[in-house]
């Protein structure tokens, strides 16, 4: 295995400045209680002016007059690291998080797909540049060694475990990621380089410094498995856009919605999943948010399809107040099974599979607008036709049955019709209180219509019309 370490030396600063032009004046991130704020990170200009992380804000302002500051938010920095991990997950199935500032990804397998290391490295660097993160990259056979090498020298490459001790030998003990307590003692004993440490017999090291040091060295050299948390893509999706002003028109909400749904689609594609239901929330100034729950018939992940359904639902919704922010939450991301299509069937440009068509119709006409039918073996006409598609019964009735059934029987008026078939006595339903006792006839009316009508047993009219043989 080969591990690439992506070290983000100015992650805190980058997560604040991402997407903005780099400032050409000293800038520092500050953190802490109001009375004793300290600098957490400084940019190049501030460093040149003599500022360093850990300084008090008051001191820094005394040293550098035109210092601008921004608040350091630990949560934001962590979110940025997760974002980088999510990005790295595109390139490798194994991504390790080493907070606060590094991730490692296994690239030995990925190189078969993305080309030899120099090309792959260039690709990683180009992506990181686009994401807006300053970075250092190193390659080593173990994740810990990659981290140490990345701190030491950007772009260092060690490909075999045999070459590892030699490359690590010159690295200062203080920069080897060893426990802080030990580094002080090692320095006191005159061991300044990792090489000094690796040359000592293992048993003696363990006796003198305990298990911690030996284990740390073993992890470094890959003699022991690393204990780093692996990145797992999230099981839910949330996104929020602040509109910055009160929006009263649907049209203005579509653009942020489209962008967030395309983010959702990207997330779904990365985890090879789909989304079946999600909630769009519109935040208002002084009122509880309006929630718009969107359910689909089958998991879907195409950005256009999601947007289409959301747009149609939004058009049907009346928002009670102006909207301040829009958020999307999808808690359940089931696996996505693309619809099977025949390679040789000609498809039209606007082809829409049946489930998607139903989604679209549901979105505008309501959730029970599209349904299917099922035959129930109940002899009563009202009960024999059920609105569902669960399990079609196989029993088909042999007596003549109309293709149209009236929702409820109505009196049949007009001149006396011709009886084509009948009577057929239906006397049933005593078990659920809906018992009927009718004689059914197939009638031909003077107009040529064929009707299915019934009357009370033993009589010939008046008829009640119950269906049409259409």
């Amino acid at each position: 295995m080969l591990w690439a370490c992506v070290l983000l030396p100015s992650l805190a600063l980058d997560s604040v400045l991402r997407g903005q032009p780099a400032p050409d004046h000293p800038l520092a991130l500050v953190h802490g209680p109001a009375q004793q704020r300290r600098l957490v990170a400084v940019n190049l200009h501030a460093r040149a002016a003599g500022l360093a992380p850990g300084q008090r804000l008051a001191e820094a302002q005394a040293v550098c007059l035109n210092l601008t500051t921004a608040t350091y938010e630990p949560g934001r920095t962590r979110a940025s690291l997760t974002l980088v991990a999510a990005w790295a997950y595109r390139y490798s199935a194994q991504v390790l998080l080493d907070p606060p500032r590094a991730i490692m990804l296994e690239v030995g397998k990925s190189m078969e797909l993305f080309g030899p290391w120099p090309d792959f490295e260039a690709r990683l660097r180009a992506d990181l540049l686009q994401l807006g993160f300053a970075h250092r990259i190193a390659l080593a056979p173990t994740p810990r060694a990659a981290h140490v090498l990345a701190r030491q020298q950007d772009g260092s490459v060690v490909t075999t475990p045999e070459a590892l001790p030699e490359s690590l030998a010159a690295i200062a003990v203080t920069r080897a990621g060893l426990p802080d307590k030990l580094t002080g003692r090692l320095a006191d004993m005159g061991m300044h380089r990792l090489g000094d440490l690796l040359a000592l017999p293992r048993a003696a090291l363990q006796r003198r410094f305990g298990k911690t040091l030996v284990e740390a060295l073993d992890e470094l050299l890959g003699k022991q498995p690393h204990a780093l948390a692996a990145y797992q893509p999230p099981d839910r999706f949330t996104a929020r856009t602040d509109l910055g002003c009160e929006v009263k028109q649907h049209q203005a909400l579509l653009f942020p919605l489209r962008r967030m749904l395309s983010d959702l689609a990207t997330t779904l594609a990365a985890r090879d999943g789909g989304v079946e239901r999600f909630v769009v929330r519109f935040g208002h100034m002084d009122a509880p948010p309006t929630a718009l729950a969107i359910g689909l018939l089958a998991p879907e992940r195409a950005a256009d399809a999601l947007f289409e359904v959301t747009r149609l639902r939004l058009e049907q919704t009346r928002l009670p107040h102006p909207v301040l922010d829009v958020s999307i939450a999808a808690d359940d991301l089931p696996p996505f099974v693309p619809a099977a299509r025949d390679l040789f069937t000609p498809h039209t440009a606007h082809a829409l599979p049946w489930p998607q068509l139903c989604n679209r119709l549901h979105a505008r006409l309501g959730n029970d607008a599209v349904y299917q039918l099922r035959v129930d073996p109940d002899p009563r006409p009202e009960a024999a036709c059920v609105r569902d598609d669960a399990t079609p019964a196989t029993d088909t009735s042999t007596p003549p049955r109309p293709t149209w059934l009236l929702p409820r029987p109505i009196p049949l008026r007009g001149p006396a019709p011709t009886v084509l078939a009948g009577p057929e006595r239906l006397e049933t339903g005593w078990w659920d209180g809906g018992d009927i006792r009718r004689d059914y006839y197939v009638l031909e009316l003077a107009t040529g219509q064929r009707a299915w009508a019934f009357c009370a047993p033993g009589t010939r009219g008046p008829y009640m019309l119950h269906g049409w043989f259409a």
Partner: protein, 203 residues
């Protein structure tokens, strides 16, 4: 030789109008009624087009006319959509006629959305046939439906009262269901033939 070839090309491109309309290629959508297939220019329903079925009243055998087609389509696993049917489609009878109920979808839409739903279903390309019962429909809507049927390569059927015959229609076929006969009022690709006898199934 070159001149002959160019003439053939010219005719194939159908940019020259000829006095005698060229016969349409035989279609792949037989109606299931041999006598009707024989007189229709496409030897069946006009493909990827809208057909109008005009009725004096409900229950004249209009579904009996279509059920063989619907049964054939659903058995080939194509979806058939009924948009705002006027009555409850009585499942036992449809099943007895050979329609696969799992491929039959019913779309209930308010009157003002009926045409939209029908257009969506036609355009989607996932439906073999779409049947609609509009309460009122104008020429412009019918034209949209005709275009949608063409785009989605589906059979569109619109059921209207026969009084609509007074107005022109963009539908490729206008078929009036009369008592024991079918009258082709308009058919694209030929002159309307004489009435076809339509014997209803015995009961």
């Amino acid at each position: 030789m070159a001149a002959v070839a160019s003439l053939a090309n010219l005719l194939a491109e159908q940019r020259v109008w000829r006095g005698k309309p060229t016969a349409l290629a035989p279609g792949k959508q037989p109606t299931g009624l041999d006598a009707l297939d024989a007189v229709l220019p496409a030897n069946g329903w006009p493909e990827a087009s809208l057909s109008e079925i005009l009725l004096p009243a409900d229950g004249m055998g209009e579904l009996e006319l279509l059920l063989p087609t619907l049964a054939r389509l659903t058995r080939a696993d194509r979806h058939v959509a009924l948009v705002t049917p006027p009555y409850v489609p009585y499942a036992p009878a449809w099943q007895a006629a050979g329609v696969k109920l799992s491929r039959l979808g019913i779309i209930a839409a308010p009157a003002h959305d009926m045409a939209w739903a029908m257009e969506q279903a036609l355009r989607s390309g996932s439906c073999g046939a779409v049947l609609g019962w509009p309460t009122r429909v104008d020429d412009r809507t019918l034209r949209r439906l005709q275009v949608a049927a063409n785009t989605g390569n589906a059979l569109g059927f619109v059921f209207r009262d026969r009084t609509a015959l007074a107005n022109p229609s963009p539908a490729a076929l206008r078929l009036e269901v009369g008592r024991n006969q079918l009258l082709v009022r308009k058919c694209r690709g030929g002159n309307p033939p004489s009435p076809v006898a339509f014997a209803r199934a015995g009961v």
